[in-house]
């Protein structure tokens, strides 16, 4: 509503019946879409997908995966890779873990992202994704763990 006429601005802004109808229809349609996404959809349906944060039931004696990605550079130093030095979130790596398993050379994505953000850092000779499996007993960490290397890749020297 545009209060162009003096006095119009102080009148309560009431909806026309058409305006009401449109809003009710939009409300019902959005609700239906959201319910469909919640019951049958996946994350792909964003923003109408299921709100599935922490929705998986982890078993009390199953080890908990803590994924990390890291590189070894030409100086022999191991660098832990993070969202800060690559711009890639850990959960994004985990979300595409299957692709890294199938084709470890996809680690070049991380290599390039790291190089773009750290142009003066020594080049990587090895990149890898490691899952640390923390053991649980009755839902409590035992302190034991074992590491699983999911993908490992050595960039060709010409890459950098």
């Amino acid at each position: 509503m545009k209060p162009t006429v003096a006095g119009a601005a102080s009148a309560p802004d009431r909806l026309s019946s058409r305006g009401r109808l449109i809003r009710v229809v939009v409300t019902l349609a959005a609700t239906a879409l959201l319910l469909f996404g919640t019951l049958w959809g996946q994350d792909d349906l964003f923003p109408f997908g299921p709100f599935r944060m922490y929705a998986v039931a982890d078993r009390l004696d199953d080890p908990v995966a803590d994924t990390r990605f890291e590189l070894v550079d030409t100086s022999g130093a191991a660098v832990e890779l993070t969202q800060n030095n690559t711009g890639i979130r850990r959960a994004e790596i985990e979300g595409q873990l299957g692709r890294f398993r199938a084709d470890p050379s996809l680690l070049r994505v991380i290599d390039q992202a790291y190089a773009a953000r750290n142009p003066n850092a020594p080049a990587a000779v090895t990149l890898r994704i490691v899952i640390r499996w923390n053991d649980l007993k009755d839902g409590i960490p035992t302190g034991n763990y074992h590491d699983e290397t999911v993908a490992i890749w050595n960039p060709p020297a010409v890459d950098r």
Partner: protein
């Protein structure tokens, strides 16, 4: 049906719409820079890592490039700040919605989708329809009422439907599962170290979360005063989540301001009144010529986001331009 319509379009003061607009559009600018700065870093990730969401595929959105990502970043910030003033709510509002939605598709298309901003996206989608609104305006609006109600429903749906998702993906066994333990191992804080020694503490917490989420729609059935207490409880819940598993849910919290009487928060009016008092207290000593800095400040305040309210302090110098 009549009751549903009345519920959906309960009138609210226009001043509340104006204030909510300012909160949401300022949040969008802050989100780009401060809350989710990692979105911008997707510009440097090779396109092979891009896995577009359904909506991105349907709309044939391009694979993000540095030009696209940085272009949206630098265009969206000034437009969001302009929209926060309440000017041209439809034009600026739809522009912010379109740009931020594409920004979110860029954010969520690399293997991880976040669930903390459904309410914010709904707010951006409905605010352009809420009509002109000036800060402090007590006149009520139904279209504004519908907009706020949609955001409130989206906020509560995020809670309520997330417990549905827990039952769908985890089953009822979710309550006694090691889900929180896993979250703590992966992203815990010193606070959580106190909790991990006893599994029953986490089971109790999981039980509490489920009860809290399933009962959240009660907020629409209680008197207004209780509603504010429930909203305060929601904010406290998020403070606790932040302290334990470092998840902020900030966009959701911004949308949750739709439950608050924001029209009563008037920082610029308060600042103006304070300056007015200071000026009238100093006037006998300084004489009739007001210092240049003071009139500049008055001019800035008069033309700022709060321009809807006329300057009416008696000490106003005659040289101050009209808002």
């Amino acid at each position: 049906m009549t009751r549903l319509i009345r519920f959906l379009t309960t009138p609210v003061p226009r001043g509340r719409i104006a204030a909510f607009r300012t909160v949401i559009y300022l949040f969008v600018a802050a989100d780009l820079v401060w809350f989710t700065p990692w979105v911008r870093s997707h510009s440097a990730i090779p396109g092979v890592f891009y896995r577009p969401l359904l909506v991105g595929r349907l709309l044939h959105l391009p694979t993000p490039t540095p030009l696209l990502v940085n272009g949206i970043f630098w265009i969206l910030i000034p437009i969001a700040l302009l929209a926060a003033t309440g000017r041209a709510p439809r034009l600026l509002g739809w522009t912010v919605f379109a740009l931020y939605f594409e920004w979110m598709i860029i954010a969520m298309s690399y293997g991880k989708v976040d669930h903390d901003r459904f309410g914010l996206l709904v707010a951006l989608a409905v605010l352009p329809t809420a009509g002109h609104a000036r800060h402090g305006d007590a006149v009520t609006t139904e279209r504004g009422g519908w907009a706020l109600r949609m955001v409130q429903l989206a906020v509560i749906a995020t809670y309520f439907l997330s417990s549905w998702a827990k039952l769908r993906f985890g089953g009822i066994g979710w309550v006694t599962s090691a889900t929180l333990e896993r979250a703590i191992i992966r992203r815990g804080t010193p606070v959580t170290d106190l909790l991990t020694s006893r599994h029953w503490i986490l089971v109790a917490a999981q039980c509490g979360i489920l009860v809290f989420e399933l009962s959240s729609p009660i907020i629409f059935l209680v008197p207004q005063r209780v509603r504010y207490w429930i909203t305060a409880y929601f904010y406290a819940f998020h403070a606790m989540v932040m302290a334990t598993i470092t998840i902020s849910f900030a966009p959701h919290q911004a949308a949750m301001a739709s439950f608050l009487p924001l029209e009563k928060v008037r920082p610029i009016t308060w600042a103006r009144a304070l300056i007015g008092r200071l000026v009238s207290a100093r006037r006998p000593a300084t004489g009739p010529a007001a210092p240049a800095a003071e009139s500049t400040l008055r001019f800035l305040l008069a033309t700022g986001v709060d321009s809807g309210t006329p300057i009416d302090t008696p000490a106003m110098p005659a040289t101050v331009p009209e808002a």
